[in-house]
């Protein structure tokens, strides 16, 4: 999923300071799962913003809504009936959702209330970690299901660097060396031969080297 974290409240306040009527829009997908921008977080942020405005002696009208998916034009259409009663939109979705709203409601300023972080997975309750860079040419089939692009600090493709120590990466003792994980997986699977097969310099075109990427499925268009 796409992970996100709420922006510092000061930054959000600065964005919305010029406006009296705010439409605060959450998203029911990834940001709900990572507890950054779902219905609950929409309510909490609205309360914080109300409190701040009261302290300033100001009244701000904040309408709350959480869409099923902000990155889907079909659901973003649901804002039509609310849009005229707002001076600005504050989105708690990832960058995809913010841009879908901005593209649909061109005469309304849209501000992000979260920082989109990475494509990741939950390691344990409350902890998410990066797992995919969206490089467009998945290597997991040859690296034992551990991604060196997302999980090696140097994005090395042929084994660890000299900075690996006791199986951990030199950037932090909390960060596993991706190539240690890859080796352990390949060994457990009896695929050690894969480890010594040399990977040639990666083609970064599918990763976006040729500009913004699109997927066109003729069968669905």
């Amino acid at each position: 999923m796409i992970t996100a974290e709420q922006k510092p409240i000061e930054e959000i306040i600065e964005y919305i300071a010029p406006y009296d009527r705010i439409l605060l829009v959450g998203c029911n997908e990834c940001v709900t799962v990572c507890a950054a921008g779902g219905r609950k977080e929409v309510g909490l942020l609205a309360s914080a913003l109300h409190l701040h405005s009261l302290k300033q002696g100001k009244t701000v009208d904040i309408k709350e809504i959480t869409l099923e998916r902000q990155c889907d034009p079909e659901y973003v259409e649901e804002l039509v009936s609310l849009i005229d009663s707002a001076d600005a939109i504050l989105s708690m979705a990832c960058g995809c959702g913010v841009q879908t709203i901005a593209g649909r409601y061109k005469d309304k300023p849209v501000y992000p209330a979260v920082n989109t972080k990475f494509m990741g997975a939950s390691e344990s309750q409350g902890i998410w970690a990066e797992r995919c860079k969206g490089c467009g040419d998945c290597l997991l089939g040859v690296t034992g299901g551990v991604c060196p692009v997302a999980r090696c600090s140097k994005q090395l493709m042929n084994g660890p660097c000299g900075g690996t120590s006791n199986g951990q990466c030199e950037i932090s003792p909390d960060t596993d060396c991706a190539w240690r994980l890859i080796w352990e997986r390949l060994k457990a699977l009896g695929m050690e031969k894969r480890y010594i097969e040399v990977m040639v310099a990666k083609d970064w075109r599918p990763a976006g080297g040729g500009g913004p990427r699109r997927i066109v499925r003729e069968d669905l268009t």
Binding site: A201, K202, W204, R205, A207, G208, G209, G210, G211
Partner: protein, 290 residues
């Protein structure tokens, strides 16, 4: 810093563009540079011109310096992060490269190494700020330098098709001048009359304006530019002139020479792009009376 002094004193300056080889045979570059000694104020070396892998601009500029000509190099952020860029700037200074032209790198997808990874750490404005920071004696991380470099750094304006483009490019150029650009190089001029108001607008930024003179090599090239780059303002009359000339190559050189002369009355300098015909640069200068 001959170029800087001349431009600062309001003297018309001439810069010639020369590319480094794709390989290590430097004979063409060195010969072309030698032929221009004492005839131009600087030679500008693009870096990975048009997104095509070449010998690095710093090496080319050092070679040009060895021939007794003041060099200028392109600097851009597509292939190098801020560490590599700063290291290269320090290297450039000690190799006798006093002039920088901060440009926008070609799209990777349009070059010859399309599978390469993009860097794009710093944009043009950021690079100008970086140069200014280095000149003041520290790096971008705030650490003091042991000896600071000095540069005459300028920026480039992209082709402009209409007034909207012109306004956007003008605003971008203003941002870059505010960030430290000391001169501006504008795109090729093929029609002095329609381009003069544009040049005058950029002159209002109060830094020297250098116009590009692009050597048309044949009718096909002129037609291609006219059709594919409406911002070139290349006229049918010019195409006809080249097409009907007895000796088209000589005519193309004459066209470039006349453009240099015409621009001498409007801007502070010219940058001549011969696009592989660097051996004709002396003839172009002869034609321009330089």
């Amino acid at each position: 810093m001959n170029l800087k002094n001349k431009l600062t004193n309001g003297e018309f300056s001439v810069i010639a563009e020369m590319s480094t080889p794709k390989g290590v045979d430097i004979s063409d570059l060195v010969t072309s540079a030698r032929n221009l000694k004492s005839r131009v104020d600087a030679v500008v070396i693009p870096d990975m011109d048009n997104g095509v892998m070449h010998m690095s601009a710093i090496a080319g500029a050092a070679l040009v310096r060895q021939q007794g000509i003041e060099p200028m190099i392109h600097v851009y952020g597509r292939d190098r992060n801020r560490m590599a860029l700063q290291g290269d700037m320090l290297a450039a200074h000690v190799l006798g490269i006093p002039n920088l032209l901060v440009v926008q790198g070609e799209e990777m997808s349009l070059g010859d190494h399309q599978d390469a990874k993009l860097v794009d750490d710093l944009n043009e404005r950021d690079i100008l700020v970086m140069v200014d920071t280095l000149k003041k004696g520290s790096d971008l991380a705030g650490f003091e330098l042991k000896g600071s470099p000095d540069f005459f750094a300028g920026c480039q304006v992209n082709p402009m098709t209409d007034d909207k483009d012109l306004d956007a490019e003008f605003n971008r150029a203003k941002e870059k001048v505010d960030a430290g650009a000391q001169f501006i190089i504008v795109p090729p001029v093929f029609d002095i009359n329609s381009y003069t108001p544009i040049l005058e607008k950029f002159k209002s930024l109060d830094v020297p304006v250098i116009a590009t003179v692009f050597l048309l090599k044949n009718v096909g090239m002129a037609r291609y530019i006219s059709i594919n780059d409406p911002g070139s303002r290349l006229t049918d009359a010019l195409i006809t002139r080249i097409r009907t000339a007895k000796d088209r190559e000589t005519e193309c050189i004459a066209v470039a020479g006349e453009m240099i002369q015409a621009l001498g009355k409007v801007v502070h300098g010219v940058k001549i792009s011969a696009m592989g015909w660097e051996d004709r640069l002396p003839a172009i200068l002869d034609s321009a009376g330089i």
